[in-house]
């Protein structure tokens, strides 16, 4: 196996890209995709450590996360569609109904 650090570096990079994307992107669907990136980053991290210490729990956890990510994506998209039906927009800066 390759040195664990490489996997960790990849996970970090994906995490950061995803995080910045959530904060910065205008289109909320892109934000959802960035959330998936974060989740995948976490997966890679988990699998890398699992392989490192020979503990299968990491990989099992990663499977859970994949299932959870799928459900979350479905729900998220559902919300976006409902919101779009109401407000006619998918841009984050125009979603300010809950503004004070």
């Amino acid at each position: 196996m390759m040195p664990a650090g490489h996997y960790l570096f990849l996970s970090l990079a994906l995490l950061l890209i995803g995080a910045i994307g959530v904060v910065t992107r205008r289109n909320v669907i892109i934000v959802l995709m960035c959330i998936e990136l974060i989740l995948n980053a976490v997966n890679i991290n988990l699998v890398a450590f699992s392989r490192l210490y020979g503990d299968v729990a990491g990989q099992a956890f990663a499977l859970f996360i994949i299932a959870d990510a799928a459900a979350e994506a479905a729900v998220g998209l559902g919300i976006i569609i409902a919101f779009f039906r109401n407000q006619e927009t998918v841009f984050a800066d125009e979603m300010d109904i809950l503004k004070w």
């Binding site: 995080a19 959530v22 904060v23 910065t24 992107r25 934000v31 210490y53 984050a92 800066d93 979603m95 300010d96 109904i97 809950l98 503004k99 004070w100």
Partner: protein, 711 residues
């Protein structure tokens, strides 16, 4: 010591009229009129009988012992206090005294009172206040008898005030008439002024002598039951009080102030003419025979004090003479028959005080007795005229009644001669006695001659106005209005009988005290001598002998001549040439006006006292409404309003304000916090990330060591 049934039951004499008065007041509705008459006249008759019996039993002992005192109970016992004579136990008791002076008074009061009660039965029979009248009249008898029978000054004062009250009630008897009600008030108020002085005199006596009892004779122990007479003598003997001492003069003057009010002397006489508003028998009893003589009686009773206070005696004499002549002058122009008699009473009372003031105490009491007879007769006669003329009282509307009502006119004529002082009627002897004593005193000091001259002139004026009254009322052409003339009727027997009795008394009443110089005994003066002797004092006065007989006759002739002059003038002006007096009045209009307006005394009093008193009450009313009501009441209200406004401010701004402040602070804080909720989820995501980073940084060092342990 005199004893006997009537003396032991002396206390019943005032009690009989009190019981009948009480019955009148409580049961008047239940008693028929005839029973009222019987009860009230009967009680006075009983009093007269008991009085006569008591006096007869008194006469049975020697002259020095003719003092009977009985004490019913101890009335006022304040304890010991300091007096001029030392520390004394003061006791005022409710007791009765019968000695020569009070026996004369009690016989006059009950005798003349009885005659007037009988007269009133006829006079008042048509009045609806019959019961009330007799109730008040009997109450008056009770008070007057208490006054004359009292054994000390305080009980005398009780009677004094009682007669003042009854005078008020009886003057204002026709209370629906405003002038009568006012006259009653005036009498009581003017009287009260004198009473203030009287009370001060009593207090001064109490602190000087330690007792108010007249004499201790007849009571056994002279120390336990001290009397003024004995204490005065003792103090003078011990040289603690001197003849003419200021305190004695003060006492005498203060007592005389009371007499001035009660006996209508100048300047407190103004109530007596107004008192004629009451029924005529009331005027006869109270304002001629009894109540007004209470002052004379009181001064005579206190003669011991007056005899050692010569300044006060002079004041009494001068006041008496002054009153006599002023009142006589006012009587000359009065047109109301009762007012003439009222001023005549004031004038004759002046004579009595003149007598007391020159030291002729017995003569003063003698004149009191004869005056009671003929003045009561005059008033009752006037009442009979008024009754016969259906209420006419104006002299200008009378005349020619001499033969119309002979049962009235004959006694009236006798009384007129008596009051004018013609011998051998009663008035001559008493008046002559007074004038001769005044002349006697003038030998001592020429000033006193003036008193005799004033008395002599007043005798002439008296004759003048009395005969003026007689001629205008009874003689001459009739000026009676035809309406009244149709209804003239003879008065009933109950009214004419007392007139006849009084006429007899006016004739023979003077014969008790025939002048000593005629070789007769002066029974009256001898009878009274023990009471009026006074105390032995080193007076330093010259004992005067009697005048020589020719001088006495000269004086008598002078008085009769003056009286005849008055009669002649009255005859000329009012009978012979009726228009003459009107011409004289026109000749001296100012004098006539001053006399008719009674020297404007009433007006002066109104300006000086009545209006000033009204001003005082206005000022006090102003004080009450503006200051007391304004400051206290309205001020309190304003203060309450100010406080409530302050309270409101506190409530609104402080209490509510703090609540609002909390709310404002909260909403103040919410403003920046609210800004956080932008509704833009990318900001929320940013904040989550930020928080995560902070947490990681905080717990970072733990993680580093844990990761190292993992390797």
């Amino acid at each position: 010591m005199p004893t006997g049934y009537f003396l032991e039951h002396l206390w019943l004499i005032p009690l009989f009229p009190l019981i009948s008065a009480g019955t009148m007041f409580f049961f008047r509705r239940l008693i028929p009129k005839a029973a009222v008459s019987f009860l009230c006249v009967g009680s006075v008759a009983l009093s007269f009988l008991y009085a006569a019996g008591a006096v007869l039993q008194l006469l049975a002992v020697a002259p020095q012992e003719r003092v009977y005192q009985q004490i019913l109970f101890e009335w006022i016992t304040p304890g010991a206090f300091a007096t001029t004579g030392g520390l004394t136990q003061f006791v005022a008791d409710w007791g009765y005294l019968l000695d020569p002076l009070s026996s004369v008074m009690v016989l006059i009061v009950t005798g003349v009172g009885l005659l007037i009660h009988i007269y009133s039965v006829g006079y008042m029979h048509a009045d609806e206040g019959y019961y009330r009248y007799f109730g008040y009249l009997n109450l008056f008898m009770f008070a007057m008898l208490t006054l004359v029978l009292a054994n000390n000054l305080l009980l005398l004062f009780v009677g004094w005030e009682g007669v003042g009250l009854c005078s008020y009630l009886l003057i204002g008897f026709y209370f629906k008439k405003e002038s009568a009600a006012n006259a009653g008030k005036k009498a009581f108020l003017v009287n009260r002024i004198g009473d203030a002085g009287f009370l001060l005199g009593i207090f001064l006596i109490a602190t000087t002598f330690g007792t108010v009892r007249f004499t201790s004779q007849g009571l056994g122990d002279p120390v336990a039951f001290s009397g003024i007479l004995q204490t005065l003598g003792a103090l003078i003997d011990q040289h603690r009080l001197a003849y003419g001492a200021p305190v004695l003069t003060a006492i005498a003057l203060l007592l005389f102030a009371g007499a001035t009010g009660k006996s209508a002397q100048f300047p407190l006489y103004v109530w007596l003419p107004d008192a004629m508003e009451g029924p005529t028998p009331v005027s006869a009893l109270i304002h001629a025979a009894t109540m007004v003589t209470a002052g004379v009686y009181m001064v005579a009773r206190m003669s011991a004090i007056y005899q050692v206070a010569p300044v006060a005696m002079d004041v009494v004499a001068i006041s008496g003479a002054l009153t006599a002549v002023i009142a006589a002058s006012m009587a000359m122009v009065q047109t109301d028959i009762k007012k003439v008699l009222a001023y005549s009473t004031i004038s004759q009372l002046g004579y009595m005080f003149l007598a007391l003031g020159v030291g002729a105490f017995a003569a003063g009491i003698f004149h009191l007795m004869t005056h009671a007879f003929f003045k009561a007769l005059l008033f009752l006669g006037a009442g009979a005229i008024i009754h016969a003329l259906s209420g006419e009282q104006d002299l200008r509307k009378m005349g020619g009644l001499y033969n119309t009502i002979p049962r009235v006119s004959r006694p009236f004529m006798v009384a007129t001669f008596a009051i004018a002082g013609f011998p051998p009627l009663a008035g001559f002897f008493s008046k002559d006695e007074i004038l001769s004593h005044a002349f006697n005193k003038a030998q001592m000091l020429d000033r006193y001659l003036l008193l005799w001259i004033v008395g002599w002139i007043t005798a002439g004026l008296t004759a003048f106005y009395m005969f003026r009254l007689f001629f205008l009322a009874f003689r001459g052409r009739s000026r009676i209005s035809t309406h009244v003339e149709e209804h003239i009727h003879q008065p009933p027997l109950t009214m004419t009988l007392p007139l006849t009795v009084l006429m007899l008394l006016s004739i023979i009443g003077g014969w008790f005290a025939l002048p000593v110089l005629w070789g007769e005994k002066n029974y009256f003066a001898e009878f009274l001598a023990p009471t009026l002797g006074g105390v032995e004092a080193d007076t330093g006065t010259v004992q005067l002998g009697q005048h020589p007989l020719p001088k006495e006759y000269l004086l008598m002739t002078a008085s009769v001549a003056m009286a005849s002059l008055g009669l002649w003038f009255a005859y000329k002006l009012f009978l012979k040439n009726p228009k003459l007096h009107a011409q004289i009045a026109e000749a001296w209009p100012r004098l006539h006006r001053v006399l008719t307006h009674k020297y404007y005394v009433d007006e002066i009093y109104e300006v000086l006292f009545v209006n000033r008193l009204k001003d005082l009450s206005t000022a006090l009313g102003f004080l009450d409404s503006k200051v007391i009501d304004g400051v206290a009441i309205d001020g309190t209200a304003t203060l309450t309003r100010v406080f409530s406004r302050m309270s409101m401010w506190w409530d609104k701004w402080i209490v509510d304000g703090s609540v609002n402040l909390v709310a404002k602070i909260t909403s103040g804080f919410s403003v920046p916090v609210r800004m956080l909720q932008t509704g833009m989820f990318s900001m929320y995501a940013t904040l989550i990330l930020l928080g995560l980073v902070i947490l990681l940084g905080y717990y970072g060092h733990h993680m580093q060591s844990w990761v190292r342990n993992l390797r």
